[in-house]
Symmetry: C2
Subunit: 285 residues, 2 copies
């Protein structure tokens, strides 16, 4: 049997631990849309403990400025590190676009966002080299997906569209609804007209609209989301840094919110088939 | 009908100034919807300086918990008092519903929200004693309008409906739009079926949808918003406390935001005919 205690006592980062590292993976989102990433992590890495923070006291990030989103990213990352997180997964496209570069520069723990996994998935999926991206105003304004896709393949044509109403529609629970369909239709029309064959769901909420989006784009456009690719990259990072949980560990998910209003949590749990259990409330210091 | 404190109660502020008080009126909202109240104040009290803070770094308040909204209310009020505000106007229905009682207990400066002016306007407007209220989830959940209306007339039947999509639709600029009309139709159906003759627009954003709402409710339902009534109560409080600006003072409006994303500011300025001028950015400490 492996010496779990030693692993637990080992100091922050960089160390290679053959005996496994039982500290949790820290995951955060502006709200609870990031549970789509937590669900993918639970599925791929059932032995890992996940400590998730949803910044529901300041949700949404999507219409806010780069400087505010970067500050929020640092504050929530600090909360995760205080909980002993061995790495930080930014399960929010807006925070990934605007805070991950600074977090990677400053924090010692490995940090990964959802933009590069989503970009990699899009590059792999497109056949005609024309990719659409939908997301919040802040994500689309940042051009983070364009940059990440062009870093992999500068020849790909990228068209992006901000869809600020989709998150409120999802949080209202109107997932399969004629009204939501009309909103989607209006947002997608300008990018569908550009002959894309791949559409990146550039917001962790959007997989909950997968069915409605799929109907809208038709059978010739592939929908790509970051959750599964992000989980795969997390697995690689954990292995590369010797941070994987010891074999046979019982993983789990702890959800913490900065504000106790959890109206949307039921919608997310049902749609994701994710058991969230007891939620802790911990205001931002 | 008015339940304003009389001049005798002015001890709270310490000093009665016959010579006039040049300090600004402090006004705040979760975002810039409260500019509807600032516009009404500018119109009624052109000699007063208004110092407005929109808490755009944490907007919206409407889906958040009472404890978080109360904390935000205190933090923003402190910022206004540091700017020398002679009174606080909470130009946000959610913060009025959930933070004003505590602010009134704790702060020395007079504090007024938009709920009681809106309730007074509804009580004055209804002929059949049946009033509808629309607002955010937090405002409707607080039952603040029911309580304020029943304090004036316990016999009035009040039906309330949370409309969480209206603010995002307004901020998207879809003010006169077939989609917005359908959303309004869906939200209003259950309360219109209860034979109301008065509808309180219980969110400072909603006056920007006045036309669409008016078309939906038809000619027999009176739309009531707090802005003008609130401005009238502010005038009475200033006079009662000897806090009015000296005659001949040149008033004005200073807008400060806690986050610099001002996408919606243009929509609001145009719809209100309000000249906002230079906006200062001041993060919450």
């Amino acid at each position: 049997m492996k010496t779990l205690k030693q692993a637990g006592e080992a100091s922050a980062t960089g160390n290679t631990r053959n005996e496994g590292d039982e500290r949790p993976i820290g995951v955060f989102d502006s709200g609870i849309g990031g549970l789509t990433v937590a669900a993918a992590l639970r599925q791929l890495l059932p032995e890992e403990r996940i400590y998730y923070i949803g910044d529901t006291a300041r949700v949404p990030y999507g219409g806010k400025s780069a400087q505010t989103i970067e500050r929020y990213g640092f504050e929530i990352s600090q909360m995760l590190l205080k909980q002993g997180a061995k790495m930080i997964v930014v399960a929010c496209n807006t925070a990934s676009a605007l805070a991950v570069p600074a977090l990677q520069r400053v924090l010692e723990a490995p940090v990964i966002g959802v933009i590069s996994p989503g970009a990699a998935a899009a590059v792999a999926a497109t056949r005609n080299g024309r990719v659409g991206v939908i997301g919040t105003r802040a994500t689309v304004g940042s051009k983070a997906y364009e940059q990440a896709i062009h870093a992999l393949n500068p020849g790909i044509h990228v068209v992006a569209q901000a869809c600020p109403l989709l998150v409120p529609l999802i949080e209202e629970g109107w997932l399969e609804d004629a009204l939501t369909t009309q909103v989607i239709e209006r947002y997608l029309a300008p990018i569908l007209s550009q002959d894309i064959d791949t559409l990146v769901l550039g917001c962790t909420h959007y997989p909950l609209l997968h069915k409605a989006l799929e109907q809208q784009v038709g059978p010739n456009v592939v929908l790509v989301d970051s959750a599964r690719n992000c989980a795969a990259e997390v697995m690689e990072i954990l292995r590369g840094h010797g941070l994987s949980a010891p074999d046979g560990t019982k993983g789990g998910l702890q959800v913490t919110l900065t504000d106790p209003s959890v109206g949307f949590l039921g919608v997310a749990e049902a749609a994701l088939g994710l058991k969230v259990g007891e939620v802790e409330i911990r205001p931002v210091p």
